[in-house]
Amino acid sequence: MSKNKFRPFWSYDVLKTQDWLNDLSFKGYKLIKVNPVLRIFQFNKSESENKKHIINYDKGLDGYPIYIKDGNDYTEICYTKNFYFLEQISDEPNSVPSYNDLVSRNRKIKYIVGQMLLFQIMLYSFFILIVIIFTLGIGSVTVESIPSNEVEYTTIEIMSAIAFILVNFGYFIIQIWMIYSFFRLRVSNRKLEVFCGDGIDMSFTIPKDTILTKEEIRKLRKEKKLIKKTKVAWFYSPDKIEDWLEQMELKGFNLIRMSKIGNSFYFKTGLPRNVKYHVDFQTKKGANYFSLNKESGWKLYFTSYSRFMAISVWGQEYTELVPKYYSDHETKVKHAKKYMWTYLAVFLPAILFVVLSIGMSITLFAYANFENISTWMILSPLIMLVLVVELLFFCFKVIRYYSRVKATEL
């Protein structure tokens, strides 16, 4: 006897779905098949069992992963596109699934949904702002309504009204779904990150041992044992900051930490050291990223939490041989290319947008009477022009960085 169960958002919180499946198998429902399109789980009635289910996501995998091959730890239940379902037999398996792929999938969905929500919020606040401006400017906003018994509606009008209500209702449902998805994925990802080891190992991503209290900093600065240097917009030529940091170390200024956004550097005065620095850009930072670098002797000075500006600063002290973060030219150049394009992808559309805005303001001039030109009308294109020049300068810097990396030998 088989039974179907509908679970529409099962993939949002895989750990919860796992528990749900464990519960059902205890109640005597054995999982047979999963329909990913209809989100239907098919069960067979059998004896009550204490089973431990594992669900995982492996992008592009059509079948089962390699680590279950021995057959001592897991048995296969079923798989759908990218997802697979297992039953864990052994209590202490030799290998466990890595949830890294699942976390990055969830992050991607969360990011897209989050962006759409942000756009919605901006739209609403813009609307509210306009209402406020009008109320303040005109004094009041009146909405007039005509008594309904005085007007006769045609069929088309009624139909379009119903359609309008339906569309808005659908829109409302979509918004609810987006908010639900966003928060659900957030909760689920936090749990999964702990499973990945991210949550556990992330503690060493913050250089806690080098964080000083404000009093300590003040005391050290008074004794001239600590100096703080701030660099503005250094992200666009990371290789120059690497050189600068290395030079500072040679002069006896040892970097201890950086500020939270990464624009300030704290140095302690000490002995001259040979340290190799590397500014790394990685969008998919998993626990293994930090552990691999740490084991290879690199010390983390800074890592950004944001996914877009995924920059980490690593340093390694050496005596003779200069340690290499990238041991081959190809990967090094590819890294620089990714670095460059990430910034260009943001700056170029922004430049285009501002240039278009300048064009619009200039056309406004053509229609304006010379008597009522306000200072704002002259000032705003100028401000925008400065912005364009600045953005172009950043683009130029980041392109120069890439060409420098490309030209230099390893």
């Binding site: 992963p65 390699i66 030799n94 890294n100 990945c196 080891g197 293994n288 670098n293 973060y325 590819k334």
Partner: protein, 110 residues
Amino acid sequence: MAKSIESLIPLSETAYYILLSLNVPRHGYGIIKYVEKLTGSRIKLGSGTVYTTLGKMSKVKVISVYQDRDRKTVYELTVEGSKLLELEINRIKIVYKDTLYQEGLFNEQK
């Protein structure tokens, strides 16, 4: 899989040695250490290179990623990966054979 494994050949020296070191499943740092030992310190892989290359390889399903008992990430060759390595080993064997033959001819001329 987006690409056929044949299109990945020839592999870069880094990629080749990473695959070669995966005769048993290894951790990221284990790969670096093993390659260093295998090549007599000729090749010291940088952690950034290894991380990027491993990421690329798991994307094309040449290797598979999971975690061991201590929740440390482990990399293992997949069936596709073994096939790729075999193809590359055969290619390098031919290169080696041709090199030896030509080297002999060059030496005769001297």
